[in-house]
Subunit: 452 residues, 2 copies
């Protein structure tokens, strides 16, 4: 349903209320909204208006909204808030979001904000989370969870759980630990509701529990959670002590970010930009890849220059008309091959020997190349082009397609083996390499056949 | 953790056991595994071995594994099972997975399998789900959920819930309905555990509940669930009657599939193929896009042919050396621009007027183009190329970049407005259009400047 629809009329109404400082009306109108809707509103208002709203509304509401908005915007808003005000927002957040926001602050403000946090337990948790890297399980987990000791009775367990649950937004599992806080297993709320109240936790808990190490990479965590359809996973240290838990909503964000990043890399964009970023941010993300393309193009200039002499021969110079076609085919085939491999590597489906894969790619590109070559020859006939020239172009194109497919397939595999993200290979990198290589190969084969 | 690691040694051991029909050992070894691990094993074995396992192990275990494996493989396995055997597997599944599997069967087998399902309630639910389109909320939802009547006391509610919960793998929310089965609100298990047992559901339930219409598109459902961080969402009909619920694990799959599809489209691959698909499947997915590229390349042949006469002029013919460079820049810029817009449209961040966006794109490409042009001129100087030629190439390239960026930006926007998936624009479509257009524009501008 999405009962809330942000449209221009609604937004204009809000802007009017802010303009005229109708604080009461604003509070009335916004206090019932979900924080995700407030975040959407904040992203649409002018900066000064957003800051007005953040200061006006209860931190209970705005804290989660602030955690949702785009990082760049959050930075600008937080710059206009005092350390005390930021601390108030942070106190309303779960520890994972709180730590994320504090980690983004400039060094000198971090301590100021931390020193203003009143809840010492919350502060301790946030400080702990700040220690972990962004891209590890520790950087993603929250300290909020419900755990019980193995020796408790179900009745006491329910009581303990009630107390802890007040601070935990969603209870997926109740984790069972021993006296050393080591993770033993889990209990579902369902189990708790159906168990005899005098039973002991030790006797009813499920010892089979998935968990991840605090230093595990987030992409690996995402794979595990989505493979096993988990909604939350506990995080432990080397001693298997329970440190925190990761929930599926954070994993959904990881999966989306990862997909966005790969998509952008394939299109030749770095730095994770958005359509609404500034021209400078967009330039920084795009120019390096264009520069790579330029270098590739200049490489082709050298290759083509080498064949300048055939331009005086009417029979041969037609080869030059085919350079964009050859470059395009080399680029397209390379991108196709690398995209399939990059996805296969990401989903762990690239198995079997390299030799098998090599034969498959060669076979595939020979089939594709042959069909396209036939069409190319037909085109030459229709055009009244000399037959030997058409044949030459067709054969060269097939050669280029095979080589481009091999480059597209093996570059990502080699990168992956060396621990480099293979996603970087798809896109301008492969296209540029294949452009140069394709054009060189094209003229090389043509020279062999036509003997110039 | 991932306590399970599928390696060659493990797999070879399994193959041996299957070869020698060591059924007891196989059962012992596999019965403790998670169904996702069984699915992984099934995908790695020979088909006949997989079928042996499916027939050997309990349906309780294999049903979920079958629901997880790749669709092509599932089809092959199910072909070897009798209608009765398939029905046994289906009975073990939640209604959503059951309906998905039956929907994939050939028409004539569907009824045979359905008629073998013994649980009439399950059968009724599956038949209902089969009515809905794959890409709607109805096609994704399961009938399994926990609901209570608004007039129940908490005590009775707990009892009702206990009974229903036995069939529901994970209880996120308890949905509250009236006598007409209309959705009124929800209760969390947490609320239930903390409420006074004599309270009435009506007095404690939360009336604010997100829901989606049964005909809502799945991508929209994914957006709502990820925006509001929901782990499950109820599905209703026009009368707001509760029909089913969608859980986040299915949404994670939707998000991943969507991302994979967009990535493949950007790379010029259709039909959702994988690295391990057959050569024929891969050809079907790749050849049409290559053919598009070929047509584009042949278009360039015509354009270049028109300028054949300048090949006899040593001063001018160098222009031909730059055609791959121009085509590459046009293609790269176009893909960058369209990728940013396609992602923006997917995440609803493309706002503001078209005029603003136009100015931004022109500004951005002028900056990028200018920097690249300066470099190109320097290159010409180093090469000892005639200055006017370098200037001509540089200016033409800037023109090409601006136009390519505009095409890349506005084609997806126009497609989106017409209800066509804009993701189709990024990749070969834009590259090919920009190749032709870029080369034409390049020679056109050069002709104007150099006056040939």
């Amino acid at each position: 349903m999405a009962s809330f629809q942000l449209d221009t009329i609604y937004l204009d109404g809000l802007k009017d209320l802010i303009q005229n400082k109708k604080d009461k009306d604003l509070k009335k109108q916004l206090n019932d909204l979900h924080y995700a809707d407030i975040a959407e509103i904040i992203e649409q208002l002018e900066l000064s208006q957003s800051i007005y709203l953040v200061k006006l509304l209860d931190s209970e509401k705005t804290a989660d909204a602030l955690a949702e908005v785009d990082e760049d915007l959050r930075e600008k808003i937080l710059q206009q808030l005092s350390a005390k005000e930021i601390a108030e927002e942070v106190e309303e957040l779960d520890t994972d979001d709180a730590a994320d926001i504090i980690a983004e602050l400039p060094e000198e403000r971090k301590e100021k904000v931390l020193s203003q946090i009143e809840d010492s337990e919350h502060l301790k948790d946030i400080r702990e989370l700040l220690k972990y890297d962004d891209d590890t399980a520790g950087g993603l987990m929250a300290k909020e969870l419900v755990k019980v000791h193995e020796d408790l009775s179900v009745l006491k367990c329910v009581n303990a759980m009630r107390k802890q649950a007040e601070e935990v937004t969603r209870v997926h599992s109740i984790y069972v630990v021993n006296a050393k806080n080591q993770l033993l297993g889990r209990l579902s709320l369902k189990d708790l509701l159906t168990a005899n109240s005098r039973a002991i936790v030790k006797d009813i808990y499920i010892p089979k529990v998935d968990y991840v190490h605090v230093n595990e990479n987030v992409e690996e965590v995402a794979k595990i959670m989505s493979k096993y359809d988990l909604e939350a996973i506990p995080v432990v240290n080397d001693q298997k002590q329970l440190l925190g838990r990761i929930t599926i909503d954070d994993i959904v964000d990881v999966i989306k970010d990862e997909a966005d990043k790969d998509y952008q890399l394939a299109a030749g964009i770095s730095n994770d930009v958005e359509a609404d970023d500034t021209i400078w941010e967009l330039t920084r993300a795009r120019l390096p890849w264009l520069f790579l393309g330029l270098l590739g193009g200049l490489g082709s200039v050298f290759i083509l220059k080498d064949f300048e002499s055939i331009m005086t021969q009417p029979k041969l110079r037609s080869l030059f008309f085919y350079t964009p076609l050859i470059a395009a085919m080399a680029g397209n085939v390379g991108v196709q091959s690398s995209a399939i491999i990059v996805q296969g590597l990401a989903n762990d489906v690239v198995k079997g020997s390299l030799i098998d894969r090599l034969f498959k790619e060669v076979g595939l590109s020979l089939i594709n190349g042959f069909i396209l070559a036939v069409f190319l020859i037909l085109f030459g006939v229709l055009l009244g082009q000399e037959f030997v020239l058409s044949i030459t172009v067709a054969i060269s194109m097939m050669g280029v397609i095979v080589v481009a497919a091999l480059i597209g397939t093996f570059v990502p595999i080699v990168l992956d083996k060396r621990g480099i993200d293979p996603a970087i290979a798809t896109g301008p990198f492969i296209t540029t390499a294949n452009d140069i290589f394709g054009i060189f190969l094209f003229f090389f084969i043509a020279k062999e056949i036509l003997g110039f």
